[in-house]
Amino acid sequence: MLIVAGVALTGAAMLSGSIESQRVRLKLLTVTSDESIAKNPRTVLLQVAPGGLRAPMLTYLWLRSQQLKEDGKFFDAQQLRDLICDLSPHFPGVWSFHAWDMAWNISVATHTPDERWMWVSNGIRLLRDRGLYYNPDNLLLYKELAWIYFSKMGQYTDDMHMVYKRRWAGEMNHVLGAPPFSDTPDAAIEAFRLIADAPKTLANLEKDASSADFVKRLAGFDVKPDGAFLNYYNRYSGDSSVSPPEWLANEPSEKDKPIAGLMRSVELSDARAKVLAFVRRKVLVEKYRMDPNWMLELMERYGPMDWRNVNSHAIYWATLGLHKAEGKGLAGINALNTDRTFLGGLKSLTRTGQVYCTYNQDNPEEPYVDFLPDWRFVEAVHREYLKGGKILVRKPSGEPGDINSNKNVLLNGHMTYLSNAIQQMYFGGHEKRAEYYYSEIKNTLKAKGAIYKLDLHAFVREKRRQAGVPSTEMSNALIGGALRRAYRALAGGNHDGYRRGRALARRVHRAYYKDVAGKARFKPQSFRKIERDFLIRMLLQPRAVGLIIPLITKAKLYNALSPTMQQEIYPLIAERLRQQCQTERINFNKAFPAPMSVSSP
Amino acid sequence: MSADKNNDDVVRTTGLTKVFRDFWLREKVTAVQSLDLNIRSGEVYGLLGPNGSGKSTTLKMILGLLYPTRGRVTVFGASPSDVRTKARIGFLPEESYLYPFLDANETLDYYGRLFGQPRKERKRRIGMLLDMVGLTGSAYRRIGEYSKGMQRRIGMAQALINDPDLLILDEPTSGMDPLAARQFKDLITELSRRGKTLILSSHLLADTEDVCDRVGILFAGQLRTEGTLEDLLSQASLTQIVTERLDDATRDAVRRVLAKSDTQVISIESPKDKLEALFLRIVRQAQTRYRTADSVKTGEVAQFLRASPEETGRKVIEELLAGPETVTPVTDKPPPSPLPSQPKPDSGVIAELMSEAEEAKSPLPQSEATRPTPKIERRTDEAVDRSVIDELTHGDGSEDR
């Protein structure tokens, strides 16, 4: 008996060795047992300790998690799911299910913004920090993660979608700040390159004498070059891409004065910038588990993505998944192999790509965020559509086929997209670009039909008439574009252009407002408020609306406004403009006289 | 109660039969068959028999641990499972069935509590009993750590905690060294003298013959013979003459005299000391020189154990106890009594003993009579000797026989 048992045991031991090696070979294990033991003893313990009870235990946990969910009890939902996943770490379906369950089902069963965001981010974290750790090559997990960013957070079906967008923008604003704006994508990409190229380790950073010195100074305040540094930098550096103007007004506390000095010191600005890039890279890699080089590659290929935009992350995870799971480079990735996430994200970027964060006094974690269209992505989308279409119509022999054939299922979407982009650019004052894409529709896509025989103006008008009520993103884009055109004209003294632009914006708004009035989740604002906000932004942060306006032009614009509008915006802009006037030695009271009812201080 | 003692049988069994069955209720063993026993108040009854003869089973039926298959048992005229009956019984099982995680003190306390004794009384009794069995020094050691002999002693103490009228001892001296066994037997004698009824079972005849008034011999579940030791042991066909040492000439003369009367001489020899007696003597001597804490007092009977009247009893005990310490050194004179506990007769004590005996109308005179002196010489029974030797020397002492 004993001998038989002994033989069986030995046999099993020998077999388990070979099973283990097969698992490694067949990629069933992405982290080898030894590695996981070294890295996560808890998981290994959970794999081994329950022995034969693992399956019943899993079943029980699974039942409990679903039962509690139905009862509206989520207190241990996350830990239960963690445990379930830990018990079956190499089963991607489990991770994907539970992340989805948390982000989509539990979140909507809660009623406060805090809880909603908590569950969505729990879903993200489960996949990103843990699921992908055990299954770094699994496409399913990447897709699920990208889908949360794109659909759950980026789209408009959830009545608290704005909460997710704002929270995410807040988080990323904290890490990366606003990218510099320019007409060409270069500035943003170059800014990000600093982060991607930053030293990977502290030792490497300290090879640079000035950085080492700065790190040493930080250590003097007991601050390490990590997330803690960002807290102080964002608060005291006066870097307007991260610090809201409200923070500048506050004097640092006595205790914080020395470190605030370090953050502001002009002599140390070079070293500080290097440390900043290092820290940002570090936080991206360690906390958000993102690869800055892949991010940079994406920006170089598709355009200056603003990482505060959830769509950028949808694109990141969708493409990274294909890269990791199938070894594809960006050149090999096309719209066809990522469901709708990749192309959808890119299209959304053309309508919401510019992110404008405003400090929220009541809840700094949830800044006010405005999204404005970013035409810089139009070309990328056009290119991707073409690329996908060409693949679709390619003949079996490999010869290129006719892009306009009915094999190209992307064609309709492509045309619609370009028509919308043309309108958007047209109303946004980029008529030349609009003209260019109009010609692309006609020549490259070989669009047939009477409407394409029209000239650009007539085409846009006809399109608008046909389309009726625009979508949310589209109407925001149109309203923003029309207002931009109107006030740019006004600043240049072109009252006719102003009237036409403003009238269009009003029309779009009216149509859209009527359409969504009953749907709480869209919470449309009154036109007056939209217009006022737009003006304030144009005067204070013109690059947020894609403009660079000298102070003198601002003064012209301000003085051309109606007295009521002046009255509304004056208290909100006076302080900031007064500062600008001081630095440019302009008499504020003459350039921006107080409106009638507001007495000049 | 006195009625019980004097007139009624304390234990009576009629046609007592016990058949053990197996799981399927098939009869397996008939352990006791049609046993009729009448144990009288105040007597020491020995239940003898080899292993498996049904002694224990009988005792357990008397205790109510087993139920008879047929027949009846009454104890003090009532059913054994009657709680009032049990209150008058003390039981020492054949092995130590005591909780190993309790110490001696707690053990006695527990059993005292089961009798519902008030706290003060319990404490008093525990102190005395521990003293009596010589475990005062180990009172706070767990019983699990005790040696077998110590466990027997604490077992005896628990059996006495309620000052029982009936004491049932199952193989009382098993696992004891001869010294302890002797003390034990003395204790039994003393208890009997105080009017307790005792039933003891043993397969060691030596245990019983010293102390029992009456014995019954069981074999294969049936009572083969029963009677007083006197009756059972006297060999009517033999006569033994004990004299001072005779020279050869005298011996021959005696032979001749006997031959004349046509009596066959079976043997003429010097009496040999019994090993048990020798051992006891030697140890006792040593003890007088190296007193150890526990063994010194061993043998003192706890005061609360009723006898009538108390005063006398204590004196007797004191006298009894004086024994080991005042034992006379071995002389070449053949010892008249191998019983070291028998002190040199002191007229006062004897007088008191006598008077007490008369007063209590206890069977003391009888036990005095059954006791010791004449019997020792008779103890030629091989089985007895061997068992003692075996236990003491592990078969090493055949030369002493």
């Binding site: 969910k69 139905e70 009862d71 509206g72 009890k73 989520f74 207190f75 241990d76 939902a77 996350q78 830990q79 909507v108 069963a109 406060t112 805090d114 809880e115 908590m118 569950w119 729990n122 009545d159 006094q361 009541d362 809840n363 700094p364 974690e365 709480a520 | 053990f20 397996k28 063993v29 352990a31 224990s56 089973t57 357990k60 205790l63 109510g64 641990l65 087993l66 139920y67 709680v83 009032r84 049990k86 209150a87 039981f91 099982p93 054949e94 092995e95 069935y97 005591l98 909780y99 995680f101 309790l102 707690e106 527990y110 059993y111 509590r113 089961l114 009798f115 519902g116 077992g155 628990q158």
Partner: protein, 509 residues
């Protein structure tokens, strides 16, 4: 009495000196502390406390149950196996006294452990309660201003550290509607035609149907059935709301609004009827007949998921009535509210007193397990007793699940196996009590009041109206009696005693 106490006391000492006890106690301490400091729940303070309470209390209960089983079984079987019982029962100790003493000793010991465990759980929960919520943390570091209403803190104070009675709505009052409907039908068709139509529907054979109709008794019966069908139909309708329509629910017996502002919460679950909608828009309107009517609460909820919100306690009328309307605002969807899907919770007691009652509930289970262990221990060996008691324990704990799983299907004809398993399980639960009916941990986690009535039910008996699956006998009795766990414990002990009394303690040597 004294000798029972002696056995109890001795059992106490024995428990304290048993190694398994030490092992379990260490395990208990480690687990409770571990859960207290390691478990973070969902990240909110409320979630953390709930997770802590849930796991620590269920674990305490589980561990104590296991200790009880092992200890009792161990003590009893060792007594017999090692013959300790010889010396004990040869003393003036009746067998029942031994059984009772042993049981009391173990239960007392477990009670002591339970008090200690619950005490430390209580202290730890108070410690966690003092921790700052996320918002409080932020407001301390001045990153965020303290909100007037911190939902997390409110949740902790109102939903956990409270004892809230659950009120079910009154069944809808449909008598009037029913009578009207019947009257209307009779007026439309005439009573005889109504009955004839009904019988024809039931009995397709026309000749037979006529025969049935001719029988006046059958006619009466048919009319009663019509009434019954209508009643069900109307009740069902009262529980449904089409878009724009409302369902009214009345709760009675609540505490009227008082100065201490007893907290009031409504908890509900909505079922879309024949619709796959996952989100349901709706509004709640609370009406107080003699006071202010609250503003409607617009909410969008996940279908079939429980949700809740706080109500203004002043909405309860002086007679303790609260009327709630759910207005369905989801286009194209009918919302159905099953009985029990909407409840109102009102604070009626403190967390502390609830904890005590929860302790009594746990103790009851321990008492039962100890009794079962005694019962089997007096005639079986240690491993077999453990196994048997563990089986009863797990069966009792999973009773809800087991009974659900073996329920006879209503829509199809049950198979032989289904009959067999159904009646087998029914039979088992005649003897084995449902140990999971009132969960101590769930009650505490949710701050649900454990009413004295509940305790009484668990300890003694329940009389209830016979349910649909109770047998004919009970239906005729008009009453169903369910013995509580306490009663069963007593019964178990008595059976244990009877067995022990007849048990021969010594075998062949």
């Amino acid at each position: 009495m004294r000798n029972i106490w002696a056995v109890t006391r001795q059992t106490f000492i024995q428990c304290l000196r048993t190694r398994i006890m030490v092992v379990f106690c260490v395990l208990l301490v480690v687990c409770v502390l571990g859960i207290g400091f390691k478990m973070t729940g969902d990240g909110t303070l409320k979630g953390r406390i709930q997770t802590f309470l849930s796991y620590s209390i269920s674990l305490t209960q589980l561990l104590l149950c296991l200790i009880t089983i092992f200890l009792t079984t161990g003590i009893i079987t060792a007594d017999i196996r090692h013959k300790y019982v010889f010396t004990v029962v040869s003393k003036p100790l009746a067998r029942w006294q031994y059984v009772l003493g042993r049981w009391c000793g173990v239960v007392g010991m477990m009670g002591l452990l339970l008090v200690m465990a619950l005490g430390s759980i209580y202290l730890l929960s108070q410690h966690i309660r003092k921790q700052p919520t996320r918002i409080e943390r932020k407001s301390v570091s001045s990153l965020m201003q303290r909100k007037k209403m911190d939902p997390d803190r409110l949740g902790v104070e109102n939903e956990i550290f409270a004892a809230r009675e659950t009120y079910l709505p009154e069944p809808p009052n449909i008598e009037k509607t029913l009578q009207q409907k019947i009257k209307q039908l009779i007026e439309e068709k005439g009573k005889d035609n109504l009955i004839r139509d009904y019988i024809k529907k039931m009995v397709p054979d026309e000749a037979k149907a006529e025969k049935v109709f001719d029988h006046p008794k059958m006619r009466q019966k048919a009319f009663r059935e019509i009434e019954l069908v209508l009643r069900e139909q109307i009740t069902e309708e009262a529980r449904q709301a089409q878009t724009g329509k409302a369902i009214g629910l009345t709760f009675t017996g609540l505490k009227p609004a008082s100065a201490d502002e007893s907290l009031l919460q409504i908890r509900y679950k909505l079922n879309p009827f024949k619709s796959s909608k996952t989100t349901l828009a709706g509004a709640w309107q609370i009406v107080n007949p003699d006071g202010p009517t609250g503003p409607p609460q617009y909410r969008s909820d996940s279908a079939k998921m429980t949700s809740s919100f706080m109500l203004d306690p002043r909405l309860v009328s002086k007679e303790g009535r609260l009327t709630v309307f759910y207005i369905n605002l989801q286009p194209g969807t009918i919302v159905k509210i099953q009985p029990g899907d909407v409840v109102v919770l009102q604070r009626v007691g403190s967390f502390e007193s609830n904890l005590v009652r929860a302790g009594l509930l746990i103790l009851l289970r321990l008492m039962f397990l100890a009794a079962v262990s005694v019962l089997f221990g007096v005639f079986l060996s240690f491993p077999i007793t453990c196994l048997a008691v563990m089986m009863i324990f797990t069966t009792g704990m999973a009773s809800g699940f087991i009974q659900d799983a073996t329920r006879l299907p209503k829509k199809t004809e049950p198979s032989t196996f289904e009959y067999f398993s159904h009646y087998l399980v029914k039979g088992i639960f005649v003897a084995v009590p449902t140990l999971s009916r009132t969960s101590a941990s769930d009650s505490l986690v949710d701050g649900e009041y454990i009413a004295p009535k509940t305790l009484l039910r668990e300890y003694l008996v329940t009389f209830k109206q016979p349910g649909t699956d109770s047998g004919r006998f009970w239906q005729t009795m008009g009453l169903e009696i369910q013995a509580g766990i306490g009663l069963r414990t007593l019964l178990t002990l008595v059976i244990g005693w009877l067995i022990f009394r007849r048990r021969e303690l010594a075998g062949i040597n």
